[in-house]
């Protein structure tokens, strides 16, 4: 590999290290819980299930295969998607405060899910999928509305307009959510808990949906590292060096929205992952998106799997909302990292 190519992307060594990190974290998260099992047992059970053999009798297999594994898989994929979206949006909009929710699509998706819960919407043939389907539908409708408004306000699709429209739409959707909650009666507790985010009861189907979204839309973002570098330096500069600014921006926004829509539909609104994880990763990899995007994706997976582990074990048997855990850990980790960096620089 020539010098330039190795400088631009993650080295094979870094890929290996992070891949192993993700797998080990997943294994630990699957093993630990109300019943903690040795890592070896977990590994053996998973391997047997993957190879299609009938697992041994006992309490381990059903817990591992039906409950914990789909949940850990969903946590990892959601974390990866949220973090990737955050990293891409921070570069695209050249704004360190941006994340997947900046565009307002996550608020739209939440509104859909909350409406489904308040009205008790059911989808024929898909039990309990009402909120999920409505969230995806509303995410899509929100994206169309936001892009239409941004284009109507400013034909050039400027970054400022997109952020402004996103913030206004988020507030609007937020007030509608409050309105729905005010009239939701006995569904109040369910809605409130959902809005804080939870991956309890995640299924393999949901995991598959997340995987498809991450592979298709996330994959698209991952190969746009060079373009996002140019956006992070400046949109006008991106135009001058030959990037199709409007097209790349539109494509990236659609990809982010699709992933956020699917993510919200499965785990609710999980804050902070998309904001903080890319920041911490950027401190290590630098701002080059060819390194930052894959590293943030894998780090996001690790971060959310560990946050979910903490959410279900810290005050067991009571389960904490995962959004609360991500915010607590994320904020304190970020402050610690910044302080350590300052101290090292001063030294």
């Amino acid at each position: 590999m020539n010098k330039q190519a190795s400088q631009e992307g993650l080295s094979p060594y870094a890929w290996l290290l992070m891949g192993v990190g993700v797998l080990v974290t997943a294994l630990v998260c699957i093993s630990v819980g109300s019943v903690t099992l040795p890592l070896g047992t977990t590994w053996k059970t998973l391997l047997e299930a993957i190879l299609g053999r009938v697992p041994q009798e006992g309490v381990a297999a059903p817990i591992l295969l039906s409950v914990r594994t789909p949940r850990v898989v969903a946590a990892g994929l959601t974390g990866a998607a949220l973090s990737l979206c955050g990293a891409a949006m921070q570069g695209l909009l050249r704004n360190p405060l941006a994340d997947g929710s900046t565009l307002g699509v996550s608020s739209g998706a939440s509104l859909g899910a909350v409406l489904a819960m308040a009205l008790g919407l059911q989808i024929p043939g898909l039990p309990n999928a009402g909120p999920m389907v409505m969230a995806i539908l509303f995410a899509f409708l929100s994206l169309l509305l936001i892009l239409f408004l941004a284009y109507a306000f400013d034909r050039s699709f400027s970054t400022h307009t997109i952020i402004l429209v996103g913030v206004i739409f988020s507030m609007f959707a937020g007030s509608l959510i409050s309105l729905v909650i005010a009239f939701s009666g006995e569904m109040l507790r369910t809605i409130t808990f959902w809005s804080m985010g939870s991956l309890a009861g995640a299924s393999y189907t949901q995991g598959l949906l997340l995987l498809i979204a991450l592979a298709v839309f996330g994959g698209f973002l991952l190969v746009r590292g060079g373009e996002l570098n140019a956006f992070a330096i400046g949109e006008e500069n991106a135009h001058h060096i030959g990037i199709n600014v409007r097209r790349v921006k539109l494509e990236a926004l659609v990809c982010v929205s699709a992933m956020i829509g699917v993510g919200v539909s499965i785990g609710g609104t999980i804050g902070f992952v998309g904001l903080i994880v890319p920041h911490i990763v950027r401190l290590i990899t630098g701002p080059n998106h060819r390194k930052l995007l894959p590293a943030a994706t894998l780090a996001g997976a690790v971060f959310l799997m560990l946050s979910d582990l903490l959410a279900r074990t810290a005050l067991s048997p009571v389960e904490l909302p995962i959004g609360v855990v991500t915010s607590l850990i994320g904020a304190s980790t970020f402050v610690a990292v910044i302080f350590r960096r300052r101290k090292r620089r001063a030294a």
Binding site: N229, G234, H240, I243, G286
Partner: protein
């Protein structure tokens, strides 16, 4: 013909920043765009590079700039813009290497030895080679200007557009910049358009000039035709020659080892 601009008008709201400007540029020419503040010089560059919507028509090597796809457009026209605000700690080399984007088409084009040579050359020319690993956030204004100059040189466009390129540069790099641009414009298939404030630079370098005021073109042609008192005094609303001589006077005798005549 390298570039033809016909009846260019660029508006901000109702205000015409550029009003019906037409000119053409041939291979080997270096056009100096001059004029007072607010004359529309940078807006003209924005129109010529299709950075902002404009009325009229710009053709580059016979092709309409509006329908030219982004990559071929960037191969034809490279712009060094004013004021580059930076937010993230990219290295100097990462920013300069982005200049090769237009020449790297497709995923398999990452291996680009010729491009790497251009990047190295551009870093050398601009004196940034030793700072290639430095974060752009730690650089001074002049050094940042040199990074983006290196980027546009690495881009290797047919027409180089420089918008007040010397603004933040010290004397050494002003000299390097203009001498380098002179060599650049003399290469086959190249031409330069630059916005400059320093009329001494416009007199010393460049082959042609376009004088603007209030968005309109007051004079255009060869340097000798445009840089005349009747045009300059009207554009700037002052005796330009007298002021330039006043500035040059303290340097008389400086070469002879005396401290020059600094008491004017």
């Amino acid at each position: 013909m390298m570039l033809t601009a016909s009846h260019i008008t660029l508006k901000y709201g109702e205000r015409k920043a550029v009003a019906d400007v037409s000119f053409s540029l041939q291979e080997g020419q270096w056009l100096m765009v001059i004029g007072p503040n607010g004359a529309g010089k940078s807006s003209l560059i924005a129109a010529l590079s299709n950075t902002r919507p404009f009325q009229g028509k710009v053709t580059v090597r016979g092709q309409d700039i509006r329908i030219l796809p982004p990559r071929p457009r960037a191969q034809a026209v490279g712009v060094l813009a004013q004021h580059q605000a930076l937010h993230y700690a990219f290295t100097v080399e990462e920013v300069v290497r982005l200049g090769r984007y237009a020449h790297r088409n497709g995923w398999l084009a990452a291996h680009d030895p010729q491009g790497e040579a251009m990047v190295g050359q551009a870093l050398q020319w601009t004196g940034m080679a030793e700072l290639r690993e430095r974060s752009v956030l730690t650089l001074s204004g002049g050094e940042r200007q040199r990074v983006f100059l290196a980027q546009v040189l690495a881009q290797d466009p047919a027409i180089l557009m420089l918008d007040e390129p010397a603004e933040a540069l010290d004397l050494k790099y002003q000299k390097t910049l203009f001498e380098l641009t002179d060599v650049w414009a003399a290469q086959p298939g190249k031409a330069v358009i630059s916005v400059v404030h320093d009329l001494s630079v416009a007199r010393r370098f460049g082959s042609h000039a376009l004088l603007m005021r209030d968005g309109k073109c007051l004079a255009q042609g060869t340097k000798a035709e445009v840089l005349q008192p009747k045009h300059l005094n009207k554009a700037y609303g002052m005796d330009v020659g007298a002021w330039m001589r006043t500035l040059a006077l303290p340097w008389a005798g400086y070469e002879n080892g005396q401290n020059g005549n600094n008491q004017v």
